[in-house]
């Protein structure tokens, strides 16, 4: 039960901190924000990696591999596309264009 308490505390604390931080993100950045948090939700890749720390039968190996592929896609793709999006945000001053 101590485990459960700790897990609940971790969940509540992270939810709270996330709430405080994210409610101050300007709407300008809502799309990149969603894209990045989406990439963060691919932490399930840790779970997928942990599956392979012990023996797996062939069927479970395949399922684990699917989890790895999708999580890696989600994580790497998510951070990459967020970066690409954020690079689009420019000011005139920064890109040296005369207006």
């Amino acid at each position: 039960m101590l485990d459960l308490a700790i897990m609940l505390a971790v969940f509540a604390a992270s939810f709270g901190v996330g709430f405080l931080l994210i409610s101050r993100v300007p709407p300008l950045l809502h799309t990149p924000l969603m894209s990045m948090t989406n990439a963060i939700s691919a932490v399930t890749i840790l779970g997928a990696l942990l599956l392979f720390s012990r023996d797996l039968d062939p069927v479970l190996t395949v399922l684990g591999a699917v989890a790895l592929v999708t999580a890696a896609f989600n994580m790497v793709g998510g951070f990459a596309i967020t970066d690409r999006m954020l690079r689009l945000f420019r000011t005139k001053a920064a890109n040296g264009k005369a207006s």
Partner: protein
């Protein structure tokens, strides 16, 4: 191999804490685009460190498979991320929510089958929830991605007895989970697959009723559920990092869901349970289909049902100038211009011409701003990304609360593919419509409004827009891209138009 146990638990705790701190710092940078770029990499680095830690702490049984599978996923992710068109971003984000869901339910399933004997009740409950939430997130996201990519009709699909079906599916899924509770029966694997299948059906039925302008709420909600699924996954494998990161994502998705609902003046219940007048949905469905048909490049020159007029206009020569001429005359005289973009701009792919027009007007010494309504488009912040890609100075993208006081001093408001977000009846206490109380951009307070919409039909809400009847409004009906190009030609701005 022996069960993983670190030699120095306090050390492991410290490292876990550091990784979570990095994630928090990364998210905390989302204040300005420049800092957000750094924040994104900090968060990515946090996950990189976490992966490294897992690998060094636990070792891997099958390194070739693990590295291979990860590389395949990563490569596909990078290639798509760099090649995809920015207009497809909402669909891409939905697809990624779905992939997160797949990873979550796969991990839960493997863990439940393998460790059936040793899992405690808390882990078991989380495992079932991880399966259900993950699978439902997957199918819901796939449908959302298809809708956002216009692969399927964006309009909501309602089944007879939709709510009863949803409740029935939930009962079935929970019942199946209870039956499988033991996890040691010979049919466990089949049972878990059945739970996954029914959860996918649940997600699909849930998402099919949400469409059109409600998509921002759905995509935000799926963001949250993907985070929740990751957190459940963390409980079953007993990894605090997963719980913490999942919870952070869940809170982010919840906030965005809340912000979207508030900006549409709709509760989560009405959006998800579909309690809304069907009239509006039917009208919206018609508008969406119509919008997908490329309209003629020339706006209707014939008199449209809408009014064309200029109040103080010393009408140039002709007694009844066409709406286009009236619009061009208004723009030429204007000193302060505000552009209101909506989803119609994205559909017409008119953002580049909007920005060129804005730049041209600025070169003539006019003040130009963009007024961004929080729910304009199909996902939170959609318009900002589209306009940023078209190379707008992002300081000109002004939020609703900041731009509203400026409308009374504005000469011309150019509405491009937006309707409900500029509907003044929302602010009229005498009217009771689905829009009543929704915060709007107060375009009607400006001296003149030019509307570049496909047609004069109501927006998603189905509420008629009295702005269209205002004598100070000029209706430029037709494909927004064609209309904008005509305006630009008339103004003498030919950049990117070729020989015109």
């Amino acid at each position: 191999m022996t069960p993983p146990h670190e030699s120095a638990p306090w050390m492991a705790n410290l490292v876990d804490f550091a990784v979570i701190l990095m994630l928090v710092i990364g998210i905390g940078q989302f204040r300005t685009p420049k800092r957000a770029k750094i924040g994104n990499w900090v968060a990515a680095a946090a996950l990189g460190v976490a992966i490294f830690l897992v690998l060094t702490r636990h070792g891997i049984d099958n390194p070739f498979l693990v590295v291979g599978a990860s590389l395949v996923g990563a490569l596909v992710g990078v290639v798509i991320a760099f090649r995809i068109d920015m207009t497809a971003i909402p669909s891409m984000v939905a697809l990624q929510h779905g992939m997160g869901g797949v990873a979550a339910f796969m991990v839960s399933m493997v863990e439940m089958v393998r460790d059936a004997q040793t899992l405690g009740p808390v882990a078991k409950v989380s495992g079932f929830l991880g399966l259900i939430v993950g699978a439902a997130t997957f199918s819901g996201s796939m449908l959302a991605a298809a809708k956002l990519a216009n692969k399927v009709n964006q309009a909501p699909t309602r089944l007879r007895g939709h709510n009863a079906i949803l409740i029935g599916l939930i009962v079935v899924v929970v019942g199946l989970s209870a039956m499988m509770w033991d996890l040691t029966a010979s049919f466990t694997t089949v049972g878990l697959i059945a739970i996954i299948a029914m959860s996918m059906l649940l997600g699909h039925v849930f998402a099919m009723r949400i469409g059109g302008a409600d998509m921002p709420v759905l995509i935000s909600f799926l963001n949250a559920t993907a985070g929740v699924a990751a957190a459940f996954c963390g409980v079953i494998i007993g990894n605090r990092l997963l719980i913490a990161a999942g919870a952070t994502v869940a809170s982010s998705g919840s906030i965005l869901t809340h912000v979207m609902c508030k900006a549409m003046n709709r509760g989560l219940g009405p959006v998800f349970l579909g309690s809304r007048k069907t009239r509006g949905i039917a009208a919206r469905a018609a508008a969406t289909t119509a919008a997908q048909v490329p309209a003629p490049a020339v706006p209707a020159a014939e008199p449209t049902p809408a009014v064309e007029a200029q109040p103080v206009a010393p009408a140039p020569s002709d007694a009844a100038p066409s709406p286009l001429q009236a619009a061009v005359a208004q723009i030429s005289r204007a000193q302060r211009v505000i552009i209101v973009p909506g989803y119609g701009m994205a559909l017409a792919k008119a953002q580049f011409d909007v920005v060129r027009l804005a730049n041209f007007l600025e070169r003539q010494g006019k003040a130009v701003q963009f007024a961004i309504h929080p729910v304009a488009g199909r996902m939170p912040g959609h318009m900002n990304v589209l306009l940023a890609e078209a190379d707008v100075d992002y300081e000109k993208l002004v939020e609703m609360d900041d731009v509203n006081p400026e409308f009374p001093q504005t000469d011309v408001v150019l509405v491009v593919g937006a309707c409900d977000v500029v509907n003044p009846s929302a602010a009229d206490p005498a009217q009771d419509t689905p829009l009543s109380g929704m915060p709007i951009l107060q375009a009607h307070l400006a001296r003149c409004v030019l509307v570049c919409n496909l047609d004069a039909r109501p927006g998603y809400s189905g509420v008629h827009n009295p702005l269209y009847d205002d004598p100070r409004t000029v209706m430029l009906l037709g494909d927004a891209l064609g209309t904008l190009r005509d305006i630009r030609r008339q103004l003498g701005d030919t950049e990117g138009l070729g020989a015109a």
